[in-house]
Symmetry: C2
Subunit: 332 residues, 2 copies
């Protein structure tokens, strides 16, 4: 019989479909669509030498020519900083001008590299760029929420191969963030504790869903994981907003993020994935109830009509089995 | 400048990204992945003659051999009717036994047909099967919510080519349905009116997002459509639950559903799509505030890290332009 599990933070239910469940090793990607990429692609706007093809950079790690990470505005930005934040109410229609930020973090000079294969130091540079841009963009009073994310591979929605991630700062609080904040407040009302802290404490006690631990972070498959190998990386220290991260924590986050992505890369043969860093609404940075975290979603299944119609997910893998599988994957 | 629009019912914001917007005709599917299917596939469990490969049918339109529509339990059901509904609370973990229903509606004998190419009478048979199974499954007191949906094409998550749709009855109310119910109640509190009725009245007044109207239904692109060519078909008569549909309304729904899918088929070259019929929680069937409807989502874009991390969508098409395009598509 299948089992339904409820995510305490979103209140979403997920169906763990045992009848159609697969063993973790059945999610290994086939070599069928494997594509060899060149280290340099002459017409790639993010390859070294082509810097002028992208808008002027907003941040850089390293020197002008020997940059290690660059941040540039997205050429086809969904939101842009120019213009006023104007909210319109016309009858039952509510709209707002598209002010905000949409930036691209170019993660490396090499066209054909991915986070799993970078050094920890290189990943730390990327995280430093995230933090600096997060802090800078947050100063803009029109910004309400900042989402940092990465799309790796076609199934994850990548349009450009060159390794990059993105930052979007929105002039509204997305409903999903607002609902999680509201649930976290209720939990705090009822227990006096942060629901994320409580969850992590429990996970560290039973260890059955823990994938790895470092000094400042722990990675685990959530109890009600939405899909196979869905992973959370959570800071041990209670903190609501990503840019509160310290230098020591950044170095440690680089280590755990790189290792987890390497476990996916080597264990599942470079699956397509998204990751996202989720923080509280930017104007509420120091709260007792909300906790920032990284969510990694390998794109091993497709949302179909049931998911679109209900918001519920059907997962064909046991979270505990996925965690065990990843714990055992050796990385070079 | 882009525009953000808020969905009044879900409170979700969508970014209409004008900088990267495409013309409606740029969404026409290429012939690259076109696949010719046979009218009969010997090893397909839904083709005539292979009825024994699927579990025993729960409903049929037509005679034993010359059936027109058949409903069977899903062989790899996510939820099944056997067993007790048991809710467990262990510390912060909440789970429930996977009781419910998961059925397949086999829509036609032909392996290679699709709704857009069926006759209105044939579509009416399918809708009749939906209604009868909805009514039957609703009798089970363990059921809280019923989702009917169709996955057409690989991008929409289809695993079997033979034309079919599915019904899933869950022992919980999905959060997404619960949240929409709560918002609809608030709207009713504030205005004394059903938010869906109000929306439809406004759409019928301006007509700029209306795709077509029939006696009992109207099809339109929502003001805050999540993705290009996202379409709602809404009954004109206020009604909270799909199985409240009358015979006349079923015939009319067949006409509008078939025509809208034919407009997508001919206008966009048979795009992959999902549709879903969304009703209120089954135990609350007669309310003043909730209204059932059909949502059609052509899979023309991919949810990536931003969507997963925020719940917000970026759409690259103007709802008004999509509606105009579809209004002008002629169907044979």
């Amino acid at each position: 019989m299948s089992e339904l599990r409820q995510n305490l933070i979103s209140r979403d239910w997920v169906i763990i479909a045992t009848e159609r469940a697969k063993r973790p090793d059945q999610f290994v990607k086939s070599d069928k669509d494997k594509k060899e990429l060149p280290v340099y692609q002459p017409n790639c706007p993010f390859c070294p030498g082509n810097e002028k093809q992208a808008p002027p950079e907003t941040y850089r790690v390293g020197d002008d020519k020997s940059w290690r990470v660059r941040v540039v505005p997205n050429k086809f930005a969904a939101l842009a900083p120019e213009g006023e934040k104007i909210r319109k109410l016309e009858g039952i229609q509510r709209s707002m001008s598209g002010v905000g930020y949409h930036e691209v973090i170019v993660e490396h000079q090499k066209h054909n590299i991915t986070t799993a294969l970078l050094s920890v130091k290189e990943v730390e540079d990327i995280i430093k760029a995230y933090k600096e841009r997060y802090k800078a963009v947050k100063q803009d009073k029109r910004v309400e929420s900042i989402i940092i994310f990465k799309n790796h591979g076609e199934a994850a929605g990548t349009s450009l191969e060159h390794p990059h991630s993105q930052l979007v700062a929105t002039p509204v609080v997305p409903t999903q963030i607002r609902q999680r904040m509201e649930e976290a407040i209720r939990y705090f009302d009822d227990t006096g504790e942060c629901v994320f802290c409580h969850t992590l404490r429990d996970e560290l006690k039973t260890k059955e869903r823990i994938v790895m631990e470092t000094e400042h972070f722990a990675a685990f498959i959530p109890y009600a994981a939405l899909s196979p190998f869905h992973i959370w990386i959570q800071p041990r220290r209670h903190s609501s907003c990503f840019d509160d991260i310290t230098d020591n924590e950044m170095a440690d986050m680089a280590k755990i993020l790189k290792t987890i992505l390497a476990k996916l890369y080597h264990g599942l043969n470079n699956p397509d994935f998204n990751y996202t860093i989720r923080s509280i609404q930017t104007k509420l940075c120091q709260t007792e109830y909300f906790h920032w975290y990284i969510s990694i979603i390998p794109r091993l299944s497709k949302a179909a009509g049931f998911e679109l119609g209900s918001g519920m997910f059907i997962s064909t893998a046991l979270p505990e089995a996925c965690a065990k599988f990843l714990r055992e994957v050796k990385t070079p």
